[in-house]
Each structure stands twice: as structure tokens, then as C-alpha cells.
Amino acid sequence: MVSRRNFFVITLIMLLVLFLFQFSEFIKDFYNDYDTNVYASSDRSLTQTSVVRPVSESDKIAASEDGYAVFIGNAADTASPAKRTVQQWCTYSKMNMLSVGSPEEYTPDTKHMPEVVFVDSNQIDFSRSASALSGIANSGVTMIFCSLPEPSVIEASEELRNILGISSVKQNKAQLKGIKLFGGFLVGGEKWYIANNEKEEKYQDMQLEVPWYILKSGTKVYMAGVLDEGRYGEVNNELQPCIIWRYRTDKTCVFAINGDYGQDNTGLGIYTAMMYEAKDYDIYPVVNSQNIIAINYPSFSSENDEQMKKRYSRSSTETLRDIIWPNLSGLINHFNAKMTYMVTPQNNYQDESYPKQEEIEYYFKLFRENGDEAGWAAYNLQDATLRQKIVADYDTFYRTVPNYKFMSMYVNENSREKTMSLLKTALLKDVRTVVFDYEKDTQMFSYLSNQVMELRTTNDGLDYTFMKDFKNRSLQTALGYSSITLDMTDVLFPEEDSPEWGRKYEDFATNLAEYLDCYSAFDKNTVSETDSRVRHFLAADYTEKREDNSIKVHIENYKENVYFILRTHGESIADITGGSWKKIEDDAYLILAGDENLSITLKPDNTLYYYR
């Protein structure tokens, strides 16, 4: 028999336990103001007008003391892909840019030498211009060949070969098995783009047919092809076809890209890395933001239940909540990241299934707990117009989370005008960031309007290829930025042969690791946070100077945190004032400028253990 006294004590303890558990949950729930967006910034000071734009007029460049780049190969009417890339690079590097049509039109200003001369080989007649190029190269300026002319042109011109450090043309076209990207060039280290098995074959989309040049001594190779041994026999590493290299003599420092890698946004990081290689250190501003965006997830109405039950033995909402959410949130936690969910309350606006309030509340609470953000996805599968969708969604959100300001939205169409008209609606009036899909020759960041920023995603999380990996490394090097999407439409409304979520999740997790693992030093943010970083990045200008071991950086238009990447050759940071730093990898550091003046003291990596 239990005595009354014991019975009382047991009951009391049980009540206490119940209280402790319930109380914490209650408090968590009570204080979860899920219907507000914590990332909604009230700061409206950085707008389109704040962007530092490169000067392109020659007289202004001559008058200014700022560094500038020269682009040779300026086509008369339209900008070539290379020029567009270089322009974009100059914007992000805060460098003025002078464009000239041909080498003959440009004479280096010995009093104010450019930082770099870009040469768009596609726009130059080398039979006439080789001597002029040679003269520019001998002036001591760093030259970057965004692409190379045809092998026959190179073979015919000894002068051109001497500029490029090419000893001879071995073959006009060599078939590669793969490509090796060597460490120390792009941030993220070494990567071999060689398919070793059938699974990897589907990743191979690098440019595998390239001219084969034998290089002179004095060259350093950053990316090289790997020949098929069965076809070419055993070829020494040093004689394999080279893709990116540097050739240096007493007077010249020339970089060459044997392929199309410098013709689009992939070139941004390559040019940045080349500038680093040309100097004894390089410091440049970056965004420092990594996004992961889930598109069309979650959905709050129970749609397509029949197919979902067939695939997952659950209704649509149950599948999203019980299978997909734990997977996704666990994965995002694993990467210490934050997710931006571009939600769509419902996908079919013609049926009788409406968004459920409890689902919306449930997810928005989870977003808040995890530090995630909700945005709005502007596409639907059915034939409702966007206008109808906006009205319906506004109604839904107004009823459930009336105070939640949507600061970001995702648009799957590249129509700026249409997007602009959407932004005037009540639902989207607070939107400051519009996310578009990646396009290789469109700027990564730009303003849609004075207030609204346009961000480009960088990679589809379900689609990994070698070229996309290379592009990711390049963009990370140049901008410290990536934006990886996970489009859930095919999960919610799968085609017959579409893989199930488990397979997709596996692919997504693997690809995410490929894209992000080397860049753990960069911050993981939501889209709104990234927007803020990009605005500061575009608005800030800087000057830097090295005195002995100290690098002094002065930031103009400094508002708040501006990030830089410092890359050195065998030096590390001893001390920093006016900011803080994190190591990305050997010789690469992420620096946060907490003040408009930053001072970085360097020390050699290899200090002697024993000295005389």
C-alpha cells in the first residue's frame, strides 16, 4: 500500500515534472513572435545611388589617382562577353576601367600605370597588333588574356608566343580526360575535374577539347588538362595541355586563359586570383554571404494528396511536415546555415483546397526558432495569373501572419518590368530583394529600382557538375558569395519518372557539401541579410597601402561591417586594428572591417625555430 504521504509526494513530483516540461514549451510558444520578420531592416540609406561605379572616361581616369584597368578589344557597337565580365569585375573590385579598341590605340601612361590590361583576343587582329601588344607587355604592366586566339595565329606569330610564354603549338586540338585545378589559385583549394567512374561521367561538362601548347620556363600553371593515356601515351605532368597560366620575364607578367572560362561570370574569380598572383598580396572587398534558398516550400494546403500517398503513404502536408522538414532542417543545422524559404501558400488556385492556418503558424514558428526567413515564391503551377495568386496569397497571409513583412521574393522569369509591377502590390510592398536564377553573363548583383536589389542565385542544389563547381569556386573567390537553391516543385508535383524525395535529399546534401565545405569561414545568411551585405559591398570604396609589414585600408562610404579577403604569399596575420579576421585557408583570410580605417600587421608564416 502506498501511504497518503508518499502518494502526495509522488503526485507533487509528477506535477512538477509536467510543469517543467510544459512551462518551457509554453514560454517558447508564448514569446515566439513568428508573425514578424526579424530580418526586416528599417535602414533605407543604401540604395542604387550609393553604388560605387567605375569611371570609364579616359580624362577622368588620368586625373584620378585611383587604380584602373584597361580593356583592349572594345567592339564598336555591343559589349563582348569578355568586356561585360571585365566591367562587372571592375565594379566589384572598385577599379576604374578604360576601354580601347585595339592595342595600337593604347599607350601605357608611365606616370599612372594601370593595375592590369585585359586583352580580348576575339576582337584583335594579331597579325597587325602583336608588336603593339609586345610593347604594352614590356612596359611592365600585368596583362590578362581573357581568351586566346586560334592556335594557327599563335603558331604564326613568334612575338605573340613570346608574350604568352608559349614555346610551341603541339596540337591544335587535344582531347582531355579531365582538368586539374591546382591549389593556391582560387580560394577553396585544389580540385580535379576528372571523372573516375560512371557516376562522375555525368558531372563532366568542362571544356575538354583545347589547343595544346608547350610552355616556356618562367611559367606557372594554375589549371591544366589531363590527357588520356590510352590515346596520347604517358605525358609528363609539366607537358600536359595548360588551361590557365602565368608567364613572367624581367619586364612582363602575362596571364592566359586557354578556353572560354573568362568570358562569363566564371571569369570574375579567375581575374581576382590572377591579380593576387601578380602581386605579393591582395586585399579586396567581398560580400561574405552564403544563402540556401528553398523554393516553393513549404506549401500550406493539402494538394496532390493522391500522388503523395502513393509515394510516401502520407498526405501532402504530412509529407512536407514529417518527412521533408526534419531532413531539411537537420541538414541546414549541420552546415550551421540559415534557410530562406520562398513559400507558396498553395500551388493550385483553382481547386477547393485552401491553405491551412495552423500549417502556416506551425512553419512560421519553426522558421523563427531556427533563425530562418520566409520569402515569397512568385510562380505557380496552375493557370492562375500572378495577379490572382498575389491576391489569394495576400488574403492568406493577412489572415494568419498579418504583421510579417516579406522582404524577399523569388522570380523564375527574367522579366524585370513584370517583377517591378508586382512589387507595387500590398503583399510585396516591403520586398527589398528579388532573387533570380543564375545567368552566366548577367550581373550577380544590381538594383531593380532605387530600393530593390536584384540578387542572382549561383547554383541549383540538385544539379552538380564540374563546370558549376568551378564557377562556384570562382564566385566564392571573387565575392565570397553563393546562393544555392532547392526547387521543391518537382517534389510536390512530381513527374512519373521523377525520383522520390529521399534520392533528391541525398543529392542535395552531397552537392551542398561540395559547394560549401571549403568555405566554412564565410557567413551563412538569409536572403535579407545577404541583401544588406551586398548593399554595403557595392557602396563601399577603399584604398589600401602597405608599409613594411602593415597594410592600411581606408574605406570610403563606410556605414557598417564591410568584408575583405586578404590573400598573401607565405604571410599570416599577426595583428589587426579596426576589425577582426578569420582564416579561410592557408594564405587566405576573411577580414571584417569594423571601422573605416583598418590596419593589418602581417608576419611571415615560416619563422625560423632556430636562429643564429
Binding site: 616556356k216 620556363s217 609539366e238 625560423l608 643564429r612
Partner: protein
């Protein structure tokens, strides 16, 4: 940490380890067996056993090709433990069981970790306290002797220590060869360059393998430990044969601290060289031989036959081991030990030919020779040829060879080795490769003296015996002046002969006074001194030169200390025999020590620290030490001339600059030089050192003029001699400057001082740089 501090720590560490292995461990095992012996005798016993054991364990394992760290440790520990357990007086099983119980408790958590640690510390502290108490008691009872000992030690530190901490590189060109041979032992090839006395190499190899100390570090600094033990052994020996307490200190202080001998008599103490290492086994052999004669007599006088091994047999065993080790280390040491043995045979002639002594002696000598020769004999019999220097040594003994050694051979090739020896002969440098000018000068002078001697030899036939003797006297005197003495001392030879005569007379007197053993020792030492005088003057006297005078003078100076001490001791002993008071004898010998010190200071005879030339800059060794510490093994290459070739064994790779320059200057199209390691270090002497061969431009900096000269032709070490080195270094320097312009971020200065610069090139292993640039 500074290299000087590191070197001091290395010296101290190696001295401690060597003492631990060769003194402390044998002492732990055998201390009860020799408890009734004098401390100096205990020291000799431990030292001989320790070295013999290590040397022959390595020999054995090498010949079986199973030599590595594990086998060496096992073969050291297991026999040691077996002997220790057998010699243990108490109940060893109980003792082990007690400790096993403690261990069991600790392992199974019955005893806490803290308690276990405390127990261990307490046991260690108790042992240490016991040791300190014993040591303090020893010092208290031997205060003056301890002070004299400290004085001698400080003197040695002062005179010889400076060179070790001031010059980090090898000072003798033999060392890369020895380094190479020891490296080959790591690959199980003990006779890589032919049959050679490998005792010294076995010891160095043992410390490399067991304790993981790099061979190049051992060869740099082990010489200090070696030198200390040479002096300790001299001191112990003299104390062992003398009656007075302090006479030995007086002699050793003069030898160590007086600046009266030619620097070449002691210069080799600044290096880690086999001949000098072998010197430590000469005197124990002699001491054990003397003790045999003394003890055997007493044993024969006993009415009953001794059961088991008698003391005299043990002494004879000690003699055989020591003598065998001189063979195993260096034949010159054997020759000196042999000469001293002959002298003892003469001193103890009244016993030597007695069958009760002679039979045992013959067995011991045969055993000693077998011990020393057998490992080499086995190798020779199985087809391994003799190493070049052995042939040379034999030729010298047969009067066919010159006075130069072949051991300063080129480390790169056997053929080059011969060329080097020829070069040395032509230029008259020191036979050991040391670059002392005094040495070459003295050699030339010696040869001149010998020439004048031979020129007048026909006339001598007609001269009377007294004139012949007078001529010989003058020749010896001139030879001593040139080879042995630091400055002209007219009285030296007469004084030496007087001391020898005094010792001999005193020896005879001791026979009369029934101090037979002591008398025999005096006579033996006197005879030995005369023999050494003849040996060092053999060339002067027109006798076959058994040993190059450059080497024999080292032994001569060393053993002069013995006769000097013995003479002082004999003088003190007379007073003892007259007064029968030991304290008077000791007081007199102490007065001799004090007198030596005061006289030295008053006459300004105190020796300053001295140094020998160097074959490598300090910067190069500093760099090498850093490179080994900085990088993973086998990820780097050093391009250098040239000692690093052997020093970096097991750590990295080496590339010859001359090969580099030849390839770079090649007229071929598409010439290329690839060095396939991640890091390449270029060693360049901005002020090239004189590697054995000074030339008229010695000491000049690298220059464009040097770089513009024709590249020396050939390979091996000759291309780094004299002016060639300057040309090679100049070319390398300007190549490096040019290359650094092309690869400013990849090639950087790793280390630089006034005379040396090291560049470090970092490469991508999958796309190496073509180092061939115009």
C-alpha cells in the same frame, strides 16, 4: 631558440645519454661485482663493458641484417635484465611481484592514478636522494680531489667547448664519409665502402637508431663527449698507476690547459673522429694488463687455488675487450696500445716470460685480436673488399705509402676519393681534411727535415756512434719542435730524456725498495715514452714510418702526460717511503696541482679556446636544422655543395649545384631541370668558404665576374674546391636572383646572413617549375 643554445643542449643531452648507456647501465648491473674495486677501476670496467656491448650488439645485428630500433632495444634490455636478475642479491621474484601488484592495482583502478603517480615519484625521489647523499658524501671525503676534478672539467669546457658552440658544421672532411657509412648501416649495409673498423660507427649508429638523434647531429657534437672521456680515461689511468692522490690532476691540467703543444696535437679533439674515439680504449687495456701482473702475483702466492674466474683473469678479460675495441675502432689506436703493451712487457719482464703469466697473456692477446678482427674477417672472407684507407694504412706500415691519410676522401664517389687524396698530397693540406695551416706547414717542414736527413745519410756512415747519436738527437729535437711543440723550447728534449731517465732510475730504486710493481710501472712508462719518441721521430731517424707523424704526435702528446705524472708521483712516493706518511705524499702532489695552476698563469701558458677551420657555414647548419623541423620528411630537396648530401639522410633529398649549373648551361633546345619535391632549398655561400683548398682570392664575395667564368668541369668534390667553389656559388647566386624575379611569390629568402643565403622554392607537385632559365 638560438642554435648555440640548441647545440649546448644537444651536447649535454648526448653526453648524458652516452654516460647513461656506457656507465650508468653497466654500473646498475655490475656494481656489486666490482664493489671492492677503486672507483676509477669501476669506471673503466663499466665503460669498457658498456662500449663493448653496444658495439658488438650492433655488429651482430648488422651482420644478421636485423638491426633496427626494436631489435637494438630488445638486445640491450633483455641481456641486461638477465644479468641484472642473476646478480641481484635479494629475492628478485618478490621485488618484481611487489611492483606487479602495484601496477595491477593501478591498471584495474584499485589504486587511484594520483596515488600510483605519487608512489612512483616517491620511489624515484628516494632513489635520487640516496644517490645525492652518496655523491655528497663522496665529495665531502674527497673535497680537494673534487675541486681538482671540477677545475679540469671547466678547463676542458673552456678550451674545447667554444668550437662546438661557435661552429656548427663539420670541421673535418672525413665526416661526410663516416656519415655516409653510418647512413648505410641504417639500410643494413655495414660495409658499404668495404671492410673498415666499424666500432665507432656502431656507437654512433646505436644512438641514432635507439634515441632518434640524427647522425649529423651526433657527428657534429659527439666529439665533445668523446674528448671528455679521453681526458677522464687519462686521469683515471694515471690515478690508477700512481701512488699519490693528485699527481694525475697536475698532469691532466697541463695537457688540457697549457698552451705548449702544437695545435695539431689536439685539434682533432674538436671533431667526432674514430681515431680519437678509439683512444679511450688504449689506457684501460694498459691498466688491466698492469693490474693483471700485480694480481696474478698475489694469486700465485696464495696457498690454495682460486675457484672460478680469478681477479687476474677478469683483468685479462678487460684487457682483451679493451684491446679488441681499439682494433674495432681504429688500427692506430691498436698500434699505440701495442707499443704500450711492449713497454709493459719490458717493465714486467721478470714475470712476462714466466709460463704462469705468458700462457694467459697469449690467450688474451689472441682473444683480443679475434674480437677486433673477426667481424671484419668474416666480411672480408665473404667477399667484401677492404676499404681504401686500410690498404693505405698497410702500405704506410710497409713503407710504401706517403704520410697522408686517405680517409679525407670525397664522399661522392670512390673514384673521386682517389683524386681527392692526390689533391691533398699536391696541396699539402692536413691528411684528415682539417684546414689548419700549421699542419701543412709542419708537414712540409718535416719533409724538409727528412730530406736534409736523407741527404746526409751517406756521410753518417762514416761518423762515429756518438756523432750519430748526436745527429739523431738533433733530428728528434727539430722534429719535436716542428710537430709537437707550440713554440721553441730548447730544454724540452733534454728535460724529457731526463724525466724518462729519472722514471727508469726510480723504477730500479723501487725494485731495491721492494716496490716491485710500482717500479715495473715506472720502467714501463719510461720505455713507452722512449718508444713513442722513436715513433714520432721515425722519419727523422730514417726508420720505417709506422704511423704518419701528424697522427703519432697526437698520441705522443697524450702519453707525455703519463710520464710527467709518473715522474711527479715517483718524487712524492720517495717522501712517502722515507716518512711513511701518506699525507705528505698527497700534500706534495696537491702542491704540484697548485703549482701547475700558478705557474701556468704566471708564465702566461694558459690555453685560450681554440677553433679549427670549418667546411660549412653556421647558416647552412642553422637552415638544415630548421628545414628538418619545418617540413615533413621526403618533401624537400637541398641544392648545396656539399656536406648536406649525407647529413639529410632519411629526411630529404640532395641535388648537386654543379649538375644544376651544367644542365642550366646546356645548349639543348627545350632544356629542363625539374626537382620533384614540394620544397627546394638552395644553399648559396655569398662568401664561399675555403673547402680544404685556399686560393689567392679566398674570402671574396660572389660576383658577376665569378658567374661569368667557365663552369668547373667534372663532378664530385673537386668542383667545390678553391676558386671553383666561388665560381659555382656565383653562378648559383645570380641564377637565384633571376629566378626570384620570375617567381617572386614562390621563391623566397628562407635565411640570410652576411656570408650565406638560403632560398626556398615552393612548387606544385603536379606542375613543377622548369628551373632551367637563361
Amino acid at each position: 631558440m638560438s642554435m648555440t643554445m640548441l647545440t649546448i643542449m644537444q651536447i649535454a643531452g648526448i653526453f648524458a645519454l652516452y654516460s647513461l648507456v656506457t656507465i650508468a647501465l653497466p654500473a646498475l648491473i655490475f656494481h656489486k661485482k666490482v664493489a671492492d674495486k677503486r672507483p676509477l677501476e669501476q669506471f673503466m670496467v663499466y665503460f669498457v663493458i658498456g662500449n663493448f656491448f653496444i658495439m658488438h650488439i650492433v655488429f651482430l645485428l648488422q651482420l644478421l641484417h636485423i638491426s633496427n630500433r626494436i631489435t637494438l632495444i630488445l638486445f640491450t634490455v633483455i641481456p641486461g635484465l638477465i644479468v641484472y636478475i642473476r646478480n641481484y642479491d635479494g629475492n628478485m621474484a618478490d621485488h618484481i611481484l611487489r611492483w606487479l601488484q602495484v601496477l595491477h592495482k593501478a591498471v584495474f583502478g584499485i589504486m587511484g592514478r594520483k596515488t600510483f603517480t605519487k608512489k612512483l615519484i616517491r620511489a624515484a625521489v628516494a632513489g635520487l636522494k640516496r644517490l645525492i647523499r652518496k655523491f655528497a658524501g663522496f665529495v665531502r671525503h674527497n673535497l680537494f680531489e673534487s675541486l681538482a676534478f671540477v677545475l679540469l672539467f671547466v678547463c676542458l669546457l673552456w678550451v674545447y667547448g667554444d668550437n662546438y658552440v661557435s661552429y656548427y658544421g663539420y670541421s673535418f672532411s672525413d665526416l661526410p664519409v663516416h656519415n655516409y657509412w653510418i647512413n648505410a648501416m641504417c639500410d643494413g649495409d655495414i660495409y658499404v665502402a668495404g671492410v673498415y673498423p666499424f666500432g665507432f660507427h656502431c656507437i654512433i649508429y646505436y644512438f641514432y637508431e635507439v634515441f632518434g638523434i640524427d647522425t649529423y647531429v651526433l657527428l657534429r657534437v659527439f666529439g665533445f663527449t668523446q674528448m671528455i672521456y679521453i681526458f677522464f680515461m687519462l686521469l683515471a689511468f694515471i690515478k690508477g698507476i700512481c701512488k699519490s692522490r693528485y699527481a694525475a690532476y697536475a698532469g691532466c691540467l697541463v695537457y688540457a690547459g697549457y698552451d705548449i703543444f702544437n695545435l695539431e696535437c689536439t685539434r682533432r679533439y674538436l671533431g667526432t673522429l674514430p681515431q680519437e674515439f678509439g683512444m679511450v680504449f688504449i689506457l684501460p687495456a694498459i691498466y688491466f694488463a698492469i693490474r693483471f701482473f700485480e694480481t696474478r702475483k698475489k694469486e700465485l702466492a696464495l696457498p690454495e687455488k682460486i675457484k672460478g674466474m680469478s681477479d687476474s683473469s677478469w683483468y685479462l678479460t678487460g684487457y682483451a675487450l679493451s684491446f679488441g675495441m681499439t682494433i674495432a675502432v681504429h688500427f692506430y689506436d691498436t698500434m699505440i696500445a701495442g707499443i704500450f703493451c711492449v713497454a709493459i712487457a719490458i717493465g714486467f719482464i721478470f714475470r712476462f716470460f714466466n709460463i704462469k703469466y705468458l700462457g694467459r697473456i697469449l690467450v688474451a692477446v689472441i682473444a683480443a685480436v679475434m674480437i677486433g678482427v673477426l667481424p671484419m674477417g668474416v666480411a672480408f672472407a665473404t667477399g667484401t673488399p677492404l676499404q681504401g684507407s686500410l690498404n693505405w694504412g698497410m702500405n704506410v706500415m710497409q713503407g710504401k705509402g706517403s704520410g697522408d691519410s686517405t680517409t679525407s676522401a670525397d664522399v661522392n664517389s670512390q673514384s673521386e676519393e682517389k683524386k681527392t687524396v692526390q689533391d691533398e698530397k699536391q696541396t699539402g693540406t692536413a691528411p684528415d681534411g682539417s684546414i689548419g695551416q700549421a699542419d701543412s706547414a709542419s708537414t712540409q717542414s718535416t719533409q724538409q727535415a727528412a730530406g736534409s736527413k736523407s741527404g746526409s745519410s751517406t756521410q753518417n756512415k762514416k761518423l762515429s756512434l756518438s756523432k750519430k747519436l748526436y745527429g739523431a738527437y738533433n733530428s728528434i729535437k727539430a722534429g719535436l719542435k716542428l710537430n709537437v711543440l707550440r713554440f721553441d723550447m730548447e730544454f724540452f728534449l733534454p728535460a724529457l730524456l731526463a724525466v724518462v731517465a729519472f722514471a727508469a732510475v726510480m723504477g730500479l730504486l723501487m725494485f731495491v725498495l721492494k716496490q716491485t710493481d710500482y717500479g715495473a710501472i715506472l720502467i714501463s712508462v719510461a720505455v713507452m715514452t722512449l718508444c713513442m719518441l722513436v715513433l714520432v721521430s721515425a722519419k727523422m731517424l730514417g726508420l720505417p714510418e709506422l704511423m704518419d707523424a701528424n697522427r703519432s704526435r697526437i698520441y705522443f702528446a697524450y702519453l707525455l702526460t703519463v710520464i710527467a705524472c709518473v715522474a711527479v708521483d715517483a718524487l712524492c712516493s720517495v717522501w712517502f717511503l722515507i716518512t711513511k706518511k701518506e699525507w705528505i705524499m698527497n700534500l706534495l702532489s696537491l702542491a704540484a696541482v697548485v703549482g701547475v695552476v700558478i705557474f701556468g698563469f704566471q708564465m702566461n701558458l694558459i690555453r685560450r679556446p681554440f677553433s679549427t677551420g670549418r667546411l660549412e657555414t653556421n647558416g647552412a647548419i642553422t637552415c638544415l636544422t630548421n628545414i628538418i623541423k619545418d617540413n615533413e620528411d621526403n618533401t624537400w630537396t637541398i641544392v648545396s655543395a656539399n656536406d648536406e648530401l649525407r647529413m639529410i639522410y632519411g629526411h630529404g633529398y640532395h641535388y648537386e649545384p654543379i649538375t644544376f649549373i651544367h644542365l642550366n648551361e646546356s645548349k639543348r633546345d627545350n632544356k629542363s631541370i625539374y626537382i620533384d619535391t614540394k620544397y627546394v632549398y638552395f644553399y648559396i655561400e655569398k662568401r664561399p668558404i675555403d673547402y680544404l683548398h685556399p686560393y689567392e682570392g679566398s674570402g671574396q664575395m660572389v660576383s658577376l665576374a665569378g658567374a661569368g667564368k667557365d663552369t668547373p668541369i667534372g663532378s664530385g668534390i673537386s668542383v667545390y674546391f678553391g676558386e671553383n667553389r666561388w665560381i659555382v656559388m656565383s653562378k648559383m647566386y645570380y641564377w637565384a636572383q633571376k629566378f626570384m624575379k620570375l617567381y617572386p611569390n614562390e621563391m623566397k629568402v628562407y635565411y640570410e646572413d652576411d656570408e650565406f643565403v638560403c632560398y626556398r622554392l615552393e612548387q606544385n607537385m603536379y606542375s613543377l617549375f622548369n628551373l632551367a632559365i637563361d
